[in-house]
């Protein structure tokens, strides 16, 4: 066997593996879309779900998913930015810092059902938030924070130290250099990470079943006062999200069109997550191009 032949074999095997993976993913995606999309209609997306009869929609679930997403991001973005900046720019290199880093690593691989039960015990029971959007948003924060922090830290670390030196040499303090030089340069990576994190949150079910709950009270979409009990924005109400809805109709749904509703909901969910992914790429590339004048990001 010559090195040349080995290279050819390796190339072939690697190609085969890649094609296999792409095939599996494409199959899954197409299966979900083909079986779901024919059942998706404007009526389906906007109307209330039904408990016993066919013809229900996912309007409330979709709203809940988006609202939870926004709340969770409002909580987790500032926290992850702060933690990531501290880890990358300020943390001394000692055992405490590496302990924190390891803890974040472990937290980021925590199964979401464990996060859900943790959220149930801490937020729903202990802090008496009950099954509420607030409990759900906090559980999603626990679920997402480690990855976001990691992403922020990595994006900042990717900025060369000479950028920081340039700031110091101009008489800027470390804080000024971080906020006005390093963070803007790392922004495309940070934004991409945030949007991907949004996709993860949007598709999350297990962490929400015991925190945001599996049902929604009847909502009054004409009253947007967050303090009003039936307001869609009331953070203390329970909220079934789209992902939870899919899980629920598949496990205990008694509507006659459960299969169709589940397939259509899955298609909407997948499309939304896909959209977020494309958005992440687009925004990241656009920001990078705007900041650097370089057209394509490697």
């Amino acid at each position: 066997m010559t090195p040349r032949k080995w290279d050819k074999i390796a190339t072939f095997v690697l190609y085969m593996i890649s094609i296999f993976i792409i095939f599996v993913l494409a199959f899954l995606l197409l299966y979900i879309l083909i079986s779901g999309l024919p059942n998706v209609s404007w009526h389906f997306i906007t109307s209330k779900s039904s408990s016993f009869q066919a013809g229900g929609g996912i309007g409330v679930q979709l709203f809940n998913s988006v609202y939870l997403l926004v709340l969770a991001m409002i909580i987790s973005v500032p926290l992850s930015l702060g933690a990531g900046i501290w880890l990358s720019e300020y943390a001394p290199k000692n055992w405490i810092t590496s302990l924190i880093r390891n803890a974040i690593e472990i937290l980021s691989s925590l199964p979401s059902v464990v996060v859900g039960l943790f959220g149930f015990l801490v937020f729903s029971i202990n802090m008496k938030f009950g099954f509420s959007i607030l409990s759900g948003a906090l559980a999603l924060t626990v679920f997402n924070l480690p990855l976001l922090t990691r992403k922020v830290e990595d994006s900042l670390q990717a900025i060369h130290y000479t950028q920081r030196e340039a700031g110091y040499a101009l008489g800027l303090s470390r804080w000024e250099t971080v906020i006005h030089v390093v963070v803007p340069a790392a922004l495309p990576g940070i934004i991409t990470g945030m949007i991907l994190g949004m996709g993860r949150i949007f598709g999350e079910a297990a962490a929400l079943i015991y925190t945001a709950g599996q049902s929604s009270p009847s909502l009054d979409f004409s009253n947007w006062n967050p303090l009003y009990i039936a307001s869609p924005l009331n953070p203390m109400r329970s909220a079934e999200t789209l992902a939870v809805h899919i899980w629920k109709i598949n496990s205990e749904g008694i509507i006659p069109d459960a299969t169709q509703v589940s397939a259509a909901s899955s298609a909407v969910l997948v499309l939304f997550v896909l959209l977020l992914n494309f958005l992440a790429r687009y925004v990241g590339n656009r920001l990078y191009a705007r900041l650097t004048g370089v057209k394509e990001r490697n």
Binding site: Q163, G167, Y168, A169, G171, L172, A185, T292, G293, V294
Partner: protein, 269 residues
């Protein structure tokens, strides 16, 4: 590697009252953890002259240069002792406002490091942070510094384009413009031509020759011809000591120390 007697030194004392001294160091020691990289260097730099620091890799010339505006402060475990006298003030003391000092002692690095901002913002950003908000002053600073750095003609129509699209030589001249926009007294350059092609290097050298009318320049260089061409004084560093410091033409024609002679003639090591 040949060993040289590090006690065999010739350091010309420029601080003899005949010339204006911009900056001087007294017994500077730099150590990283337990390792001492600079073993007591005392040099005086004349105002409006170019002083070159030469020496082999690891001789400590860059470390010494970086201690002059306390860039080594940012590296954990680094300790710098000794005095760095600037306008009658020891800038190495704890009471000194490091950020204010760095406005007076600017620095340009080996790797061109423009910010991921527009050319215009690269120059004005630090000024704005230091409180300069007047648009006309900022506009004028951009024009004059880019002219002084020899970059104006090439970029005057693209001031709001990203600085990252510039070539290496252009980026380095932008970094010089950015440094002189702070109106420093002293400009420290750490091998500014190390990653540039010969043509960019020649342009950079011309720029430096013009800049010395206004600034005191201290430059670390690996390029002996470059030191010979542009500098007025040269200090030769070896293993953390400055072994010889004299007028450049003397260093390159009749050095007093054997190590210097070997180094400038290429018989070193």
């Amino acid at each position: 590697m040949k060993t040289y007697d590090s006690e065999d030194r010739y350091i010309k004392d420029l601080d003899d009252g005949k010339r204006e001294i911009a900056l001087s160091t007294d017994d500077i020691h730099v150590s990283y953890g337990t390792h001492e990289a600079i073993h007591g260097v005392s040099l005086a730099f004349e105002r409006f002259k170019i002083t070159a620091l030469i020496g082999a890799s690891g001789s400590g010339k860059s470390t010494y240069l970086r201690s002059l505006n306390r860039m080594n402060d940012n590296i954990a475990g680094t300790k710098v002792t000794g005095k760095i006298m600037y306008r009658g003030l020891d800038v190495n003391s704890n009471e000194v406002d490091v950020y204010e000092m760095r406005k007076h002692i600017g620095m340009v690095f080996q790797q061109p490091n423009p910010f991921a901002k527009s050319i215009y913002d690269n120059i004005t950003f630090a000024l704005q942070r230091h409180g300069e908000k007047r648009k006309d002053v900022l506009d004028e600073t951009v024009e004059t510094t880019l002219k002084q750095a020899g970059l104006w003609e090439q970029v005057k129509d693209d001031l709001h384009q990203s600085a990252l699209a510039l070539s290496g030589g252009q980026a380095q001249r932008l970094c010089i413009a950015r440094a002189i926009a702070m109106k420093p007294d002293i400009l420290l350059l750490d091998e500014p031509a190390a990653v540039l092609d010969p043509i960019s290097t020649a342009t950079l050298e011309e720029t430096l020759m013009e800049l010395k009318e206004r600034y005191t320049i201290i430059i670390v260089t690996h390029n002996m011809q470059q030191a010979g061409r542009i500098s007025d004084y040269t200090a030769f560093f070896h293993l953390g000591n400055a072994l010889e410091y004299d007028e450049t033409r003397k260093i390159f024609t009749r050095p007093k120390i054997q190590a210097t002679e070997d180094y400038v003639s290429g018989h070193f090591g």
